[in-house]
């Protein structure tokens, strides 16, 4: 093996640069193996962190995911222009919200097969296929948001409507009448507007400017249908 030349230039030039002075006298013979460990302190810490999520307790894992979901709920309830929902998307929140909504909206013992509110499957299908259709629509129109990011935003922004459903159920425990209906109508309208504002805050920037209305209208229709299902719910 040739001598290891440790400078890119010719080490035997007669005008040595001060940086490489004295290096030409060094030669590494074959007999001495060069070995050792190169450790960078930061790196090993991160590697340790990654591998240890397998060993952590189940409670830690669940709490970490729950905290992430809770943080996103807060972002939906107080919508600011932030990227949290988009950057670390997850679909746990939408699943929980969708299942809650579908469980509470499904009709109980109906005296009639055909009439009545939606079944569990109908609500589930409307929410998920509605979200997928809206996402496909915005991508086809030229938006630059990824598929799951958009699903995540649309799913999380159902949270105000779920709160509206809970409030409506409580209100329905009281005496039925026009005041009952007015209160429910008001709550649903406010939450509907909140959902639209929250989802627009996250989604509008990803659309080309001359097609924003085309991409937002289906979101409006989606939340309108969900609001209608909540408003017409009768136990």
């Amino acid at each position: 093996m040739a001598e290891a030349a440790e400078s890119p230039g010719d080490p035997r030039t007669t005008s040595p640069r001060p940086l490489f002075a004295g290096l030409s006298e060094i030669s590494i013979s074959q007999d001495i193996p060069v070995e050792g460990e190169i450790t960078i302190p930061m790196r090993s810490r991160i590697r340790e962190f990654d591998s240890s999520t397998l060993n952590e307790s189940v409670q830690n894992t669940i709490m970490r995911d729950l905290k992430a979901v809770g943080k996103k709920f807060m972002h939906v309830l107080y919508p600011r222009k932030s990227n949290t929902l988009l950057r670390d998307w997850d679909l746990w929140g939408p699943l929980v919200l969708c299942v809650t909504l579908a469980l509470m909206l499904q009709r109980g013992s109906a005296d009639n097969e055909n009439d009545g509110g939606p079944q569990f499957a109908e609500v589930f299908v409307i929410i998920w296929f509605g979200a997928v259709t809206i996402t496909l629509n915005s991508k086809l129109l030229g938006g630059n948001i990824s598929f799951f990011q958009s699903l995540c935003v649309l799913g999380y922004c159902i949270l105000p409507l779920t709160v509206a459903l809970l409030v409506c159920r409580l209100v329905l425990l009281a005496k039925p009448g026009p005041i009952n209906f007015i209160v429910r109508l008001f709550v649903v309208i406010v939450m509907f507007a909140w959902s639209i504002v929250a989802s627009t805050a996250f989604l509008a920037d990803s659309q080309p400017p001359n097609r924003k209305a085309l991409a937002i209208y289906p979101v409006f229709l989606f939340y309108f249908v969900i609001s209608w299902m909540i408003l017409t719910f009768a136990p």
Partner: protein, 311 residues
């Protein structure tokens, strides 16, 4: 003088006729239709956002013509080409469908060989949901006057509405397009519309039913019939004016049969929706078991009161 002849002003329609003869050309550039020397070129307004780029496009036209070979149907960009519309274009097409003018074909004047699928899809979705929701709202409003009516959300009507509207908006244009392709040999001048253009103008023609259905909430029967007839007239007129340039070169029998079939199907859709989703209400509180049988659209309007349960 020959020069004066050549400098004569050409009507706007000539451009659309040229479009009709070469249906694969989009209106991005006009250098293909460059008039002979001495003519004053009429500036065709392509509309939308690509109007300003015409002057620069002349050397790009060849490239664009080559790009008409669309990407394969398995790629995403193939489908993206059907959604290549701006908000202003969609609104312009909706306005064009609301106000049909004789002699102005919707496809030539508003679509200009750039059909889109956004309009038909979302107009059908909106119409399906609006039908189900307003049909339900009529029950709510009737319940306020007559408390014995039992209110139920009737969610299955959403499914029925969706399936009906989407089937109409896709299967009828398919049949129409197939029929026109079959009769293609009879026509000399005008090429038939492509399938997408047919779906497109059918979809946009359904737009007028959305405000009509909302206006059907007013519980005055003659007003409902008036609005229905008005919407049907406007919508069917739009369809007829669009189909007329294609069909007028055919034999009179085929032309009249085709146009009357189109209008009849449209009328059937409108009446079926009116009867199914806006059932007259006194019938509902007379027998709860009536709702078990699937509702028959045309027999509902003159109900025979169900016999009371025999003692």
């Amino acid at each position: 003088m020959a020069a004066a002849d050549e400098l004569a002003f050409h009507e706007f329609e000539e451009a659309t006729n040229l479009l009709a003869e070469t249906p694969n050309v989009t209106t991005v550039s006009r250098s293909d239709q460059r008039p002979p020397e001495g003519h004053v070129a009429v500036a065709v307004d392509p509309g939308g956002s690509y109007g300003a780029e015409d002057e620069v496009e002349s050397d790009k036209t060849a490239l664009l013509q080559e790009q008409q070979q669309q990407p394969g149907f398995w790629t995403f960009s193939y489908y993206q080409s059907f959604f290549d519309v701006d908000t202003s274009q969609v609104l312009d097409r909706i306005k064009g469908s609301l106000l049909p003018r004789p002699g102005h074909s919707f496809v030539r004047h508003h679509l200009r060989n750039r059909p889109d699928l956004y309009g038909p899809f979302w107009i059908c979705a909106t119409l399906a949901f609006v039908l189900a929701i307003t049909g339900n709202l009529t029950v709510v409003l009737a319940q306020r006057t007559d408390p014995s009516i039992h209110y139920s959300p009737q969610f299955h009507k959403v499914t029925v509405a969706g399936i009906t509207i989407y089937c109409y908006a896709w299967l009828v244009p398919l049949a129409l397009w197939a029929f026109l392709q079959w009769r293609k040999g009879v026509r000399e001048r005008m090429g038939p519309y492509t399938f997408l253009e047919t779906v497109c103008f059918y979809g946009y023609s359904l737009f007028i039913f959305i405000p009509t259905v909302v206006l059907w909430l007013i519980p005055v029967p003659w007003l409902q019939w008036l609005f229905g007839a008005l919407a049907l007239a406007l919508s069917a007129a739009g369809l007829v004016f669009t189909l007329w340039p294609i069909v007028r070169e055919d034999t009179r029998l085929v032309a009249s049969v085709l146009l009357s079939a189109v209008v009849l199907l449209h009328a059937l859709l409108a009446m079926g929706c009116k009867f199914y989703f806006f059932q007259p209400l006194p019938l509902e509180h007379m027998a709860p078991t009536h709702q078990n049988t699937p509702p028959h659209p045309h027999g509902v309007l003159t109900p025979t009161p169900p016999r009371p349960t025999t003692a």
